[in-house]
Subunit: 350 residues, 4 copies
């Protein structure tokens, strides 16, 4: 049994962490942090937790929280975590960051895309990128600073990693991503109001979304060379779910011999034994409804002989495998629990 705290427990990611941690057999949740709601009963604000927790929102510092918790989840806007995490804190507690501050290895790239100074660049090297299917479980086992990938990033990397690793794709990969609204957070803003979002779809942050360098970093590592991506997110009128549709032209060397079967082989090899990745059969493509509320990533593959384009479609729940679920998966590995414990929910349909 380990103790856990959440800083930023009032956002969608924080609420999802509470939902999952409250039922986790090896975790005792001690702390639900929020500055604005400090002192209020958690279940009074977040009605889904009514009768399930006696916790109150508290406004404790990261230092205080780390002092009492074996693991602290940070669900904060970028720039805040990096100003607060210290080597001392990392000696006492495992910091499981769901924000962007420790994802990019290059301080320069971070500051360029995020437009803020990084508060603790000396910690970047020791941060482990929490995508266990890619970085491997061993990489996580003794780490106290886990940088969880973004929601779009998780879908984008997992659905193209085998191609990058095999070096069979021309760059840039074209990733057309679609997300439910919860990915944009719970802070009040006109652009996210029901009347603005419902009955509409739009592209946003065209050529400028901050998940781009994160995807490029990881695919580049796998490929051993730069992998540029054209990443375009879209906002879809639904609560949860990310779907990515990726278009890759095979390199000239491989183009003539590529088949869907060979392509599938690459994915089967890479994801063998990965419980949360479901490779769909030939001709079947993911739908976000089939992963809703679960930690699964569904992946469907196609190679269009007519046009010479590889199409990979992936679906996940942005709040589970794209955020809270993945952070718990990482925690499980880090603390030596079974990787899947607490993450066994079957998708909720409809």
């Amino acid at each position: 049994m380990i103790t856990a705290g959440i800083i930023g427990a009032n956002g969608y990611t924080g609420i999802e962490l509470v939902r999952l941690l409250q039922r986790h057999p090896h975790v005792k949740l001690l702390h639900t942090g929020s500055r604005s709601l400090a002192g209020k009963p958690y279940a009074g604000e977040i009605g889904s937790l009514r009768s399930r927790t006696e916790l109150e929102f508290r406004n404790a510092s990261l230092e205080e929280t780390a002092a009492e918790c074996d693991v602290v989840f940070l669900a904060l806007p970028h720039g805040i975590a990096s100003a607060q995490v210290t080597t001392d804190i990392l000696k006492r507690s495992c910091i499981n960051d769901l924000g962007a501050d420790y994802r990019l290895k290059s301080r320069r790239v971070y500051e360029q895309w995020y437009g803020v100074e990084h508060g603790s660049p000396q910690l970047l090297e020791q941060a482990v990128y929490g995508l266990p299917e890619i970085v491997g479980r061993r990489a996580l086992s003794d780490k106290n600073l886990i940088a969880n990938p973004g929601c779009y990033t998780t879908a984008s990397i997992l659905s193209t990693a085998p191609i990058a690793q095999a070096g069979i794709g021309s760059v840039p990969y074209i990733i057309d991503a679609k997300s439910g609204v919860s990915g944009a957070g719970r802070q009040a803003s006109q652009g996210l109001m029901f009347g603005e979002v419902n009955e509409s779809i739009k592209a946003y942050k065209v050529k400028a979304h901050r998940h781009t360098p994160e995807i490029e970093q990881m695919l580049g590592q796998l490929a051993g060379s730069e992998v540029g991506v054209q990443f375009t997110p879209h906002l879809v009128p639904m609560n949860r779910g990310i779907l990515t549709t990726t278009y890759i032209r095979p390199t000239e060397e491989i183009a003539g011999q590529l088949t869907e079967e060979k392509l599938r082989g690459l994915y089967e090899d890479m994801y063998e034994g990965d419980t949360f990745i479901r490779l769909l059969p030939d001709g079947v493509f993911p739908e976000t409804r089939w992963v809703h509320g679960s930690n699964y990533v569904d992946i469907g593959l196609s190679y269009d002989q007519r046009t010479g384009i590889i199409i990979v479609v992936a679906a996940l729940d942005n709040l589970v495998k794209g955020a809270a679920g993945q952070a718990i998966q990482n925690m499980n590995i880090r603390f030596g629990f079974e990787e899947t414990v607490g993450l066994g929910d079957i998708p909720l349909f409809p």
Copy 2:
């Protein structure tokens, strides 16, 4: 460990039963029945179950299914169950019917509201109405024919039972109910298509909905006298969730002395110890988002001194406490398991 089968496993209720039973620690699900999909892998049709079950749809008769299963869930249109259940079957297996055939005690009332002949009226008496918070756990303990209440009915009865039992409400109770679309089933029909339902709300089956006599039967039993209800259902563009708003004028005897506090006392007394009923604090009213995917019923109370009307609002998930969850709750009680086992999901928000 008991064995279970589902007949009608391809509808929304059937799919929800599979979701809940697959994770139930004391149940082994053996049979997922469907005439139209017989022979197909369950998870191939219902993608949420992919990697979670190897079962196939089978077209087995109730008799065959009952022969191999300790409990058989029937998720069928009305009229079918009553034509198939026999005393012999009930000797071998517990029939847990989610349809309407055994809910009404009076064959005449059934035939009048449903417009079909009842196929096994001799079994009506032995059927137990599966609303444990009202009928009591003991009533269920040795029964092999459980008639699960309808989704609207569960919300309507639970939110007004204390008033009926105390005899403080004038009739008719006015129940204005709102439901998500999954309550109408999964059979293709133009009226339930996205383009017809989205961005619209309507009342339907005004003064004619078949859950009416069921509500009246149970409230009447509690009151010891006839309790008429004016029940009006509405279709709301959302997948899951029922909200009932009930208006009751107190009887003249009680009107002068009634307070919200006294009213609340009736509910607290009746539902003491009922895990799945969450009585909300003063001034707080239910929202279906806070029960989404769970077996909870949230109830909020108000007495408007200005107008002299009691207002009770209740929310539940029509596929869980309104169908599959309640059926499993009844199964748990019937087989001596802890009542809440397998039903511990925290509501999924957003």
Copy 3:
């Protein structure tokens, strides 16, 4: 040709006014007011108007606006209009207020329900309540201060006025209302974000909604005696549309002789010649999809002999007949145009 201005042109009601006025053959829209967006092109902010208007948002006072416009529409939160309208302004321009400040005839009732002081109680008497089907066209013909009814109010009054006028209903009338989200305005707030509203329904402001006294005032005038209402609004996950379901017990005198036919007769008499009221045939009930984007109010009637309750269902588009459309209808009458001009849109389905 008259000139028009809108103060508060950036909210949903303001945007709808622009949509309708830009196509109105007798109106030249001169002014779209907004404090926060002053100086920005209207169509740059409200993309639906792109290529349809060259107007910019301006931050002009009511006085300035009234000086150049024959009619000024106020789409403002309550309390602001009453602080700004003066007798002088009313001499120069017709003030067509879509807010609450001049709806209630009693300053005391206003201040009690709205919790603010009324800024110009001396003008209350000369304000005309802009519900032409009820107050009559003549009442509007020479008035320079029009108080447009609220969205819920319009549906509630129009669907029960014939009963109130005939004096056949017992009080309180029970009005269970359901609204799309645009009724709550466009100001950013967490409670109206997509992730909070989608896939949920709730009652709100139970026994305390401010449209209550407005409904009671008008029904009381028609009845010649107090008509209390129990008004409960609900928030529905859709952009537009209001549905009210009203339950009325006939008075004892009438109860024995009441039939649906007689009931229908009252409505036919009252609404004869009213283009925007569509009385639905026997057994047919309104759905908001059939009025979407139009100025219609659909009304369906039922009398349940079994329970002795009258049920009236009404649907309208809260931004058209519930706000902008009605204000234009009033303007048409006030300025001697044909009542329906500029309001001929057929509902947009789906």
Copy 4:
């Protein structure tokens, strides 16, 4: 004044045609055809038209309809129109087909993609492709067989035609399209039910959608050489709206010198004077909410210097510019009316 008939007046396209034609100043709608609803009042089935039309559904043949109508709109599944249109019919009436039968110039390509025999291949040559911004108004002026483009096709072609014509794009163009549900028609099917579509997004008909050859045909004509497209449609939980996001790599010759400004110049040149095409300013991208209910196509452009990819985003309402509106635009041109008459609706927001 011309007379018009619709065959298939009960589908979403048919209903939209009625909505638009009923308000068209130069058209008298005489006939609303439906086999299944023959004899029923149109407004009794399609409630939005209540009080707006006295027409009944009739089951008249194309021949009979053409005998009484100057223009006949066909809103039928593919394969039906081509079996019924004859040279004789075309002598009497203008056939304005919204289906697929006359869109492709090559019978072979049609039969390959649609899997049915073409019923009147001899008419293919005389059919004019009804995309006036591309084919020119003159092409339509004396034609009696108009093949209206598909909804996806209209967005895809209009958003890439300037690039194809200038010959600056490498093939295949990658078109990632997203559509609301009404594009799939009104025929009852489980896959389009609310519970299946809501809260989910999916790709479908990957590498196999029938609009592909239509897009390729027109872009190829403009380019003077084959233009392959990788077209992937997605189903989005909303009623109306199509968004296409297209990715094109410039040819090697142009790549070094291309700028967004030059790109924009191509579009401005091609669409000068086209009322229904709204080219958005630099950095602004379309959202379907801003074209909802209107005949507009909004187009936004970007050239990502970092990756060397052109991104074009387009939005339209699939039932207006993607179907009924475009057909009426074509009719206007064909009969010498002003092109925009009857199509002046400002988008309905929200």
